[in-house]
């Protein structure tokens, strides 16, 4: 990497970086700072606190620590990320990509057809996808899933009442598996074939080639994907909101919905901002952890 030697070079670099930095500052950094500032007040959108918000220090954070619903929503978010993102999207996406990738001794037929099928979830906007799944899983006998069940004499099942959390996990896996598949497919096909060919010659089984060669070589990519999907899944809102609104009985109230309800249904901006700030800190810690894991390899 060429070092920046003169002031002119430095200005040049800054000039190129400035638009991106300005956008980051305006739309990411500044809102985060403002949100943190709001979290130290009792600001509300209605009532006396709307007219005269006051500084309350860490009161909102104290309320969060005592709010069992906040703890529950964090727990549900962690479980949601673990099951849908880390296990569902990452593992399933990786294996689908592995099956579809061309490797020495392996080529799946009709891969373009499979690729088109797996890319379909990304074609629908998040809201449309959520509403489509809501229709599919509706608890009435006319819902598509219940109609399928009726063919075998079962159902109807109140999917979004009795199995709301599993449903949102399945929907998120369905939605995110495409990106995982594309990401890992590109990574797998960039692997040097010589290593795999050598392993084949040495008599390594398919499992040994996968777990002893492919996965270790793809460790950086896997960690990058895990970091991306963990952070984005923690921030999910629309997909779950339009399916369940966080119900029934807060069963699917992940942290994004908790924040939305506090800020935009209860209009408690201070509390909503505090919850957002806590989430931001958690994600920063997670991100730093993943980065450290990636550096350890180096």
């Amino acid at each position: 990497m060429q070092p920046v030697r003169t002031w002119r070079d430095a200005v040049f670099v800054i000039a190129f970086l400035f638009p991106a930095l300005a956008l980051l500052g305006l739309f990411i950094v500044w809102p985060a700072i403002w949100a943190f500032a709001q979290s130290l007040t009792n600001r509300s959108l209605t009532g006396p606190a709307a007219l005269h918000p006051q500084f309350v220090g860490l009161e909102n954070y104290r309320r969060l620590l005592q709010d069992s619903e906040f703890h529950a929503s964090l727990g549900k978010s962690v479980l949601f990320v673990l099951l849908s993102a880390i296990i569902g999207q990452t593992v399933a996406g990786f294996f689908i990509a592995y099956l579809m990738a061309r490797r020495p001794g392996w080529q799946l037929r009709f891969t373009p057809v499979f690729a088109a099928i797996f890319v379909l979830p990304l074609a629908a906007p998040e809201t449309v996808a959520a509403l489509a799944w809501a229709s599919l899983t509706t608890g009435t006998p006319e819902g598509l899933l219940n109609r399928a069940l009726s063919l075998v004499g079962a159902g109807p099942v109140q999917w979004l009442q009795q199995y709301a959390f599993p449903v949102i996990i399945v929907v998120n896996i369905w939605r995110g598996i495409t990106f995982a598949m594309v990401f890992f497919a590109a990574a797998i096909e960039s692997l040097p074939t010589s290593a795999l060919e050598a392993a084949m010659i040495d008599g390594a089984t398919a499992g040994q080639r996968l777990f002893r060669i492919v996965i270790p070589m793809l460790r950086p990519q896997i960690l990058i994907f895990l970091m991306l999907t963990t952070i984005t899944t923690f921030g999910i809102f629309g997909l779950v909101y339009f399916l369940t609104r966080g119900g029934p009985q807060n069963a699917t109230e992940i942290i994004g919905i908790y924040v939305y309800k506090r800020a935009f249904q209860y209009f408690d901006i201070g509390l909503g901002s505090a919850a957002s700030a806590v989430l931001l800190c958690l994600l920063l810690i997670l991100g730093l952890y993943y980065v450290r894991l990636m550096k350890e390899q180096v």
């Binding site: 002031w7 305006l26 950094v29 209605t46 009442q161 935009f264 209860y266 909503g272 901002s273």
Partner: protein, 493 residues
């Protein structure tokens, strides 16, 4: 030429300066406009929720606020363009037909006022989120309409224009608007921030034809027990749930406004007293226990209540079909729900359907719920307060009000509309209007939205059998206290 070597430290320092400059730019741009909350995910639109009435009454002890007196009065001879926000399709369609007439009326008075109609999100909760954000940011429409339950909340936040001097100078206000409704819209600071757009009477609607066939009495039930016994008998005969009091989270604010409050008003416990919400009382426990009893008796249609748009399978399907035999409803039900152009028309409606007043817990009197329905209000930040008042006054008078009442299915909030078509052709609405003066009602003080949330979740717990009535009452008390703050609640033994 000597090449000045830029070290890493110098580069990072310069970069930090650049970031700081961009942050300062952001600060300046944020301070330049209305401050808007940022700590939330993006919102979105949900399916429409048709629940037009959110009624409540009487002066609410609102927080004191600076009166938004109209100091920026624009001369009406100057061209004025007002914005008007509305969000339910029938109301939007009606305004589209009315607004040109308003503009013509203003022209004939030498006033050049035009109105731009803005359509908001269809679902009530999304609409109120948008409206509140608009008010907070100072970008709300000049004139808007919303449920009465929001007036105290918006007024105490300084969002609404003080209309007191306007209504006091308007002869129709005292001469024709019902005193009960005038009192309801007058806030505890003595000021008026919104005027009634309509009045709502709510009561129980029942299928008299089917109850008669089943030999179940159709006389007025006096107590909850009497009502429950009759509906239990009906459910045993038909095998279907027979009684609907909205409950659960799916019904949104309707759980409170169309279900819970009509039971609560039938107890001896107040829900709001001396400036505080009563979050624990014998009446509250009795109400949640009654929900439990309805579930245990099998009379409450639980499954539909757990799904989106629960009014569709109940009021729009089961009631017209004759499976559901009794439901809460309002004057709008005659037109909006089951009228010839309604969501679920019932042939021979007035032969098949009749009304009961709400029974009380102990059978000591029955009542209808009568209150202000929706209101008209102007934004405190409107640049044209005089013109906004002209629009509100025109919409709350004569033919405009008559058409509004018939379109929505509401009673007129003033006594001089009965002879104006098409309202004059709706005897059931005029009969409802006559019940206003003897009705019961509830003031919607600040914090109502939080109570509505707590009621939705507590009744959800009961209908899913997660909690019994007492446990649901405990949950309600705990959640309401957490949402409102312990200084705003009290309990009664």
């Amino acid at each position: 030429m000597h090449a000045h070597r830029v070290t890493r430290r110098m580069f990072l320092r310069t970069l930090a300066l650049g970031l700081g400059a961009s942050g300062a730019a952001g600060l300046l741009s944020a301070c330049g406009g209305g401050a808007t909350p940022t700590a939330t995910p993006t919102t979105g639109m949900a399916a429409a929720q048709a629940s037009p009435a959110a009624t409540a009454t009487s002066a609410a002890p609102a927080a004191t606020q600076a009166a938004a007196t109209p100091t920026r009065a624009a001369t009406t001879s100057q061209p004025v363009k007002l914005t008007l926000l509305e969000h339910q399709k029938p109301r939007v369609d009606l305004l589209k037909s009315l607004l040109p007439k308003f503009e013509d009326a203003m022209k004939s008075q030498g006033k050049n006022i035009t109105v731009e109609l803005q359509e908001g999100p269809a679902e009530d909760s999304e609409f109120y989120s948008k409206l509140t954000l608009d008010f907070s940011a100072g970008t709300a429409a000049d004139v808007t309409s919303f449920g009465y339950d929001r007036v105290a909340q918006f007024a105490s936040s300084g969002y609404l224009l003080d209309l007191t001097q306007y209504v006091n100078a308007w002869p129709d206000w005292k001469a024709h608007f019902y005193e009960k409704l005038r009192q309801q819209v007058t806030q505890s600071d003595g000021k008026v921030y919104a005027i009634p757009r309509e009045a709502t009477i709510m009561e129980l609607f029942y299928r008299k034809d089917i109850l008669t066939q089943l030999n179940i009495p159709t006389t007025q039930p006096q107590s909850w027990k009497e009502l429950l016994d009759r509906m239990t008998q009906a459910t045993k005969a038909t095998g279907k749930p027979s009684l609907l009091f909205p409950a659960g989270e799916s019904w949104g604010g309707g759980t409170f406004a169309e279900g819970f409050i009509h039971l609560m008003l039938g107890t001896d416990s107040p829900l709001y007293q001396n400036g505080k919400w009563v979050v624990r009382s014998p009446g509250l426990t009795a109400v949640f226990t009654f929900y439990q009893q309805m579930v245990e008796a099998g009379v409450l249609p639980v499954q539909p209540l757990l799904n989106p748009e629960p009014w569709v399978p109940t009021k729009y399907q089961a009631f017209p079909k004759g499976d559901l035999l009794c439901t809460t409803g309002g004057t709008w039900s005659w037109i909006f729900d089951w009228g010839p152009k309604g969501a679920a028309p019932i042939d021979g409606l007035f032969d098949k359907v009749a009304t009961w007043q709400f029974p009380t817990q102990n059978g000591n009197g029955t009542f209808v719920y009568g209150a202000v329905g929706w209101v008209w209000a102007a934004s405190a930040k409107t640049k044209y307060p005089d013109a906004a008042w002209e629009l509100i006054k025109w919409l709350a008078s004569g033919e405009a009000m008559a058409q509004n009442a018939v379109t929505i299915g509401a009673a007129a909030p003033r006594d001089d509309i009965q002879s104006i078509a098409p309202y004059s052709q709706m005897p059931f609405l005029i009969d409802a209007e006559k019940q206003l003066t003897n009705s019961r009602s509830f003031s919607y003080p600040p914090g109502t939205d939080k109570i509505e949330q707590a009621v939705g979740e507590a009744t959800q717990a009961v209908i899913t059998k997660a909690k019994n009535g007492q446990q649901a009452a405990d949950q309600f008390a705990q959640q309401a206290t957490q949402l409102l703050g312990s200084s705003n609640v009290t309990t009664m033994q």
